[in-house]
């Protein structure tokens, strides 16, 4: 079923391509692209090639550069600090995807309805996403202060004792995730809201006649229809969270100790605090491969979800 519709789709696409071919008035569009190609080559491709080359060299700034083969990668494999940072990254990313996904979907469901002041409130809700992360992080740092911070004061109202937030090894990652969630829930909300806008009304009317309750309508109608958008939100959020830097660096610099040191922070410290360029480059390569693998897996899941979606229709 799906393969037939796929074939039809590709055939239609080919036809469309044929038709829109400008024939003998085909202008040469390459000159438009060349300046951008040069910039991409200079600031994106060159750094990549250079990083790959550096990763097989042993070089600390100010010392001699020696070809090292795979030494840096082997060193990485047995570096406990790297494995710790990998675990912190996994934990941080998972929490920073799940929490905004849940809250953002909830917010989108609310903003999809009609109520007074909806436009203004949506505008306010979106603000954190665009605010300067460092500036936000500094204010959160003040709010997290164990003695003078306003958060512990608010907690005392509901009978919870003072927390140490980012100053305790156990609570530092959840606290950072709280900030990340505060800032990025709006993006999930916007994406899901885009999905909700495309949802047709009729199924809901017949569901209501059949006596479905709010939860059933969400579970069996809304959720399947917005699933592709949720997947997009998961992909974008994962890629952003896994390389989160500003918030973590500004608030804890990876501390206390190395309790919140993610790969990105460790990479920064290696390259720009210890100036261990070779090792840092190897870490950058491995980190990039991890991100590509993560995106690839998520895209595969999305692809399969789309297919079964097509079959159902």
């Amino acid at each position: 079923m799906s393969s037939v519709s796929m074939e039809a789709a590709t055939a239609a696409k080919a036809k469309q391509k044929q038709r829109s071919k400008p024939g003998r008035f085909a202008p040469n569009y390459w000159p438009f692209v060349i300046p951008a190609l040069i910039v991409v080559a200079a600031v994106i491709v060159f750094p990549w090639v250079f990083t790959l080359w550096m990763s097989v060299n042993s070089w600390t700034l100010g010392q001699a550069q020696v070809f090292a083969g795979l030494d840096n990668y082997l060193r990485l494999a047995v570096d406990p600090r790297f494995w710790d940072s990998l675990w912190h990254t996994v934990l941080y990313t998972t929490l920073s995807v799940v929490a905004p996904l849940f809250l953002g979907t909830l917010a989108a469901l609310i903003f999809d309805t009609q109520f007074p002041l909806r436009g203004i409130l949506r505008g306010v809700f979106v603000m954190p996403m665009m605010a300067t992360p460092v500036a936000i992080a500094l204010v959160w740092t003040m709010m997290f202060h164990p003695q003078l911070g306003v958060l512990n004061y608010l907690l005392s109202y509901v009978g919870i004792g003072p927390q140490e937030w980012i100053y305790n090894q156990m609570s530092v990652i959840p606290s950072l995730v709280l900030v990340e969630t505060w800032q990025w829930t709006p993006l999930v909300m916007l994406i899901v809201l885009g999905g909700l806008a495309a949802v047709p009304r009729e199924p809901y009317e017949s569901a209501e006649i059949d006596g479905a309750n709010v939860w059933q309508k969400f579970r069996y109608l809304t959720l399947p229809m917005i699933a592709p958008f949720l997947m997009i939100a998961v992909i974008i959020r994962s890629i952003d969270a896994v390389k989160s830097f500003d918030i973590i660096y500004a608030m804890t610099q990876g501390g206390p100790g190395t309790a919140s040191e993610t790969i990105n922070i460790y990479l920064y410290n290696t390259a720009f605090s210890y100036y261990d360029i070779g090792y840092g480059s190897a870490m950058a390569v491995v980190f990039f491969v991890l991100i590509v693998m993560l995106s690839f897996i998520l895209l595969m899941i999305k692809q399969r979800a789309n297919w079964s979606d097509g079959e159902a229709r």
Partner: protein, 271 residues
């Protein structure tokens, strides 16, 4: 009817609860920035002080060279955005017309790459070229952020603009450049506005490039505000005031250009 009105009030209430962390955060930020040290150190915390410490804002500019850093931020963001538009708008046009959307993969990869991995080689390159200490390294490296945004948005935009006018113009003997300049570009103005706004915001907010590449004289605002934290006896009032100054331009832009921002962010996302 009555039932419906009640529903709406209920939804409004839920929405207010949802928005409250945002509102309370920014109100508290303003409150911190307008209090003297004694009030900021008080427990239980004081929300509205008896005396407002406007001097915090004066202090930020007087003691921290903030005018210079503000100017640096304007220059870096302005130059990186303008260059990105000059390079990226034609590129978006070319890619859309060549039907080479696959090449947008490069842009996706640029988005996935951690900023730090661009920094190591470019830092060494700038050092070798003896450019550190000027604003050029930051302007150039901000292109890593701004060019992909502009190209990405413009591809999407030019794909939706009609081809017929352009074909007619080229039949009439217009060169490709004239077609682009006189036919395609004017239609694409709303798309350019979206690209401009997002490019400005992401460049303005960027922190990681600055902490590596900026020297004392070339700091941008996010770096400057971070340095206030690390090199001084931390006093909360001026720090909050500085944080507010850094993020205020972006927040104002967000309020006024909300529709464009939403359009730009979701256009890239839904594809």
């Amino acid at each position: 009817m009555k039932r419906k009105a009640l529903d709406r009030i209920g939804l409004l209430f839920v929405a207010l609860v949802m928005v409250s962390p945002v509102v309370l955060f920014f109100l508290w930020m303003i409150s911190l920035s307008l209090k003297y040290e004694i009030d900021n150190g008080a427990f239980p915390p004081i929300f509205i002080p008896e005396r407002f410490a406007w001097s915090n804002y004066v202090k930020v500019f007087e003691e921290n060279n903030f005018f210079l850093y503000l100017w640096n931020s304007v220059l870096v963001t302005g130059a990186a955005t303008l260059l990105a538009l000059v390079i990226g708008v034609p590129a978006g046009y070319g890619i859309a017309r060549l039907k080479a959307e696959k090449s947008a993969v490069v842009i996706m990869i640029a988005r996935m790459t951690p900023g730090l991995s661009f920094l190591i080689p470019l830092f060494l390159l700038f050092q070798w070229l003896n450019l550190l200490g000027t604003l050029w390294p930051q302007i150039i490296i901000h292109l890593v952020v701004t060019v992909p945004i502009v190209v990405w948005i413009m591809i999407g935009y030019f794909e939706t603009t009609p081809m017929e006018l352009e074909e007619a113009a080229s039949i009439d003997g217009a060169t490709p450049w004239q077609v682009f300049r006189l036919v395609a570009l004017p239609i694409a103005r709303p798309g350019i506005v979206v690209a401009f706004i997002l490019s400005v915001i992401f460049s303005w907010n960027n922190f990681v490039f600055g902490i590596v590449l900026a020297s004392r004289e070339t700091r941008t605002l996010p770096v400057a505000v971070y340095n206030m934290l690390s090199f001084e006896q931390v006093s909360w009032g001026p720090l909050a005031a500085a944080a507010l100054i850094v993020t205020l331009p972006v927040l104002i832009l967000t309020v006024f250009a909300q529709r464009q921002i939403v359009a730009g962010l979701t256009a890239g996302a839904v594809k």
